[in-house]
């Protein structure tokens, strides 16, 4: 069972706003899911040495070059920004 404090802590880390009734609801939901997941701890993993997905595969790299997009595409992407000034993305001040 995780506590209300835990839920608030996780929500903070995840940058999720929650109302106080939601904190209670998610506390119940998460506790029940984590209770089920608990059984994973019983698995014997002593034989597993590495957790690489596929040791036989190699990274696929491309050249580090920017691909120029048409102005039409750029304008559409800028159009999707919630807040802009001229062609810049506007962000609230941090301090």
């Amino acid at each position: 069972m995780i506590s209300e404090k835990d839920v608030n802590h996780i929500a903070g880390l995840a940058r999720l706003g929650l109302t106080s009734s939601e904190v209670k609801k998610f506390q119940k939901d998460l506790s029940s899911i984590l209770g089920y997941i608990e059984k994973l701890k019983k698995a014997n993993v002593k034989t597993v040495r590495n957790i690489d997905q596929s040791p036989s595969l190699k990274n696929v790299m491309r050249d580090d070059v920017a691909v120029k997009q048409s102005e039409d595409v750029t304008n559409k992407i800028i159009g999707l920004m919630p807040d802009t000034k001229e062609r810049f993305l506007k962000v609230k001040s941090i301090f």
């Binding site: 995780i2 835990d6 839920v7 996780i10 929500a11 880390l13 995840a14 940058r15 999720l16 706003g17 929650l18 609801k25 998610f26 939901d29 998460l30 029940s32 899911i33 984590l34 089920y36 997941i37 608990e38 059984k39 994973l40 701890k41 698995a43 993993v45 034989t47 597993v48 957790i51 997905q53 990274n59 696929v60 790299m61 491309r62 595409v73 559409k76 992407i77 159009g79 999707l80 920004m81 919630p82 807040d83 993305l89 962000v91 609230k92 001040s93 941090i94």
Partner: protein, 476 residues
């Protein structure tokens, strides 16, 4: 017979013989959607202009006496987490309600190059998180076989559209069963390709080590046709493994089929088990060798899945921050958010539904200091054991047969208040994604009016084998 009843092959032949034009066909589908979508709610939005334009292109080629490809002029539906340039892509979420795709997903580019007629975008659980489409921010899809029941999920709209003849075929995405489970519930065919078979470029990211786009069709033959078009290398997705199209014929007498005993256990509806066992018996009588096998770590698959998937999701969904794109409280005139942190917190609170927030929190918890080793690292280790189970099985048999789901379609509202019971819907499908394997669900019978699906699992990149076994079973 109506034009909308046809399979891809039948439609293609009709177009080639000029029995009907692509434009007539397109209008027949659009009319049917107009009439039936309000009951089923398979489509969130239509892309009529694009559909008509593509149909016209096909008709021009035919009238010039040119050859058309198998998918040319054939109407399809696309899950609304796959980007089509200049159309809205919501991923079933309020946070992307007004997001207009600036580019095409690779699979869409491939379909467009074949003059596929794209009719519209289909409903899904928000960000593909769910097994019923009830988590869509825009309302649930209904199962065409019983409107009181769910079509499955998360590609519920795509499966319902094909089952109700609102599209000849569709694309879905499968992270833990999201193509196969709705295909099983709606009595259609659904393929989850091997991880690395189909490009994920332009698919809204959910759990990047498991997501795959797959076709939903009326027949296995149709499934192969669509798979052969969407598969293959893409320089925009480095995880796609270069492989060749394989249509090698499979000899039934050489076929070795494994039956994993962990998939025939308590909790499986006895009628589902009976129907699946009957199908196995049929293929055995036709000459295949049947062998009972064991996948000993199966009992851990779902727990493992529900640690790794939320962990990856919590990282992927960090991009929806109310700053770059998507819903933002900045635009809310009454309450424009308090400072940078306020914009994050409130945009994500209002933009995401309950299931998405649940998974983000679960993932954040599993990755947080003090819990990482116990949860995430342990799950990654168990993932290796699950993979090894399958490797061992495929050294003795060619394919595995299991039920796709333990039960047929459940009632709308039955599981939505209990997230854990909803998660258990993925019990027979999620291990396949953990291991990166290909698997297909095909309809093998009905309980009353409700379809039952059989799952065929293959080794990595053995799509040809599972499709061939599916084709054989379809004929028996």
């Amino acid at each position: 017979m109506n034009l909308t009843d046809f399979t891809i092959t039948q439609t293609h032949n009709g177009l080639k013989k000029k029995e009907f034009s692509a434009t007539e066909l397109c209008e027949a589908y659009l009319d049917k959607i107009q009439k039936d979508n309000k009951n089923i709610f398979a489509f969130l939005a239509l892309t009529e202009d694009l559909a008509r334009e593509q149909a016209q292109k096909t008709d021009e080629v035919i009238s010039r006496g040119g050859n058309i490809s198998l998918l040319s002029g054939v109407p399809c539906a696309i899950k609304d987490n796959i980007l089509i340039r200049d159309f809205i892509c919501t991923a079933g979420s309020k946070i992307l309600e007004n997001y207009v795709s600036p580019y095409d997903a690779t699979v869409i580019k491939k379909l467009k190059s074949q003059q596929a007629v794209i009719l519209g975008k289909t409903n899904l659980d928000e960000f593909a998180m769910g097994a019923s489409t009830e988590n869509s921010a825009f309302g649930p899809t209904r199962n065409p076989y019983d409107l009181e029941r769910v079509p499955g999920g998360s590609s519920g709209g795509s499966a319902a559209a094909v089952a109700a003849n609102l599209a000849c075929y569709s694309l879905g995405s499968d992270t833990g069963g999201s193509v196969r489970q709705p295909a099983a519930f709606c009595g259609v065919v659904g393929l989850k390709p091997s991880y690395g078979s189909v490009s994920r470029y332009g698919l809204v990211s959910f759990a990047s080590s498991m997501d795959q786009i797959g076709p939903i069709t009326k027949t296995v033959k149709d499934c192969r046709i669509v798979f052969d078009v969407i598969r293959g290398e893409d320089e925009l997705d480095s995880t796609v493994v270069p492989t060749k199209i394989n249509n090698e014929k499979l000899e039934l007498k050489n076929l070795r089929i494994g039956i994993p005993r962990e998939y025939f256990v308590k909790g499986v509806d006895p009628e589902v088990e009976r129907i699946v066992r009957e199908a196995i018996k049929k293929i055995e009588s036709a000459g295949a060798k049947i062998k009972e096998i064991s996948l000993p770590h199966s009992e851990y698959a779902l727990s493992c899945y529900y640690i790794i998937v939320p962990s990856e999701a919590s990282a992927n969904l960090a991009r929806y921050d109310g700053i770059k794109y998507g819903y933002s409280v900045v635009k809310d005139a009454e309450n424009p958010g308090n400072g940078l942190l306020g914009i994050y917190l409130q945009s994500r609170e209002k933009g995401f539904g309950d299931e998405v927030r649940r998974r983000i929190m679960l993932g954040t918890y599993a990755l947080s200091a003090g819990y990482y080793e116990a949860y995430y690292l342990q799950a990654q280790k168990v993932r290796q054991l699950i993979k090894k189970d399958f490797d061992k099985a495929f050294s003795a048999v060619d394919v595995l047969l299991t039920p796709t789901t333990p039960t047929p379609a459940f009632k709308i509202g039955e599981k939505i208040e209990d997230p854990l019971s909803m998660y258990l819907s993925d019990i027979f499908t999620s291990a396949v994604n953990l291991a990166g394997l290909p698997a297909i669900s095909i309809p093998v019978g009905k309980i009353g009016n409700l379809p039952v699906g059989l799952q065929i699992i293959g080794g990595p990149f053995e799509e040809n084998k599972i499709l061939s076994v599916g084709e054989i079973l379809e004929q028996l």
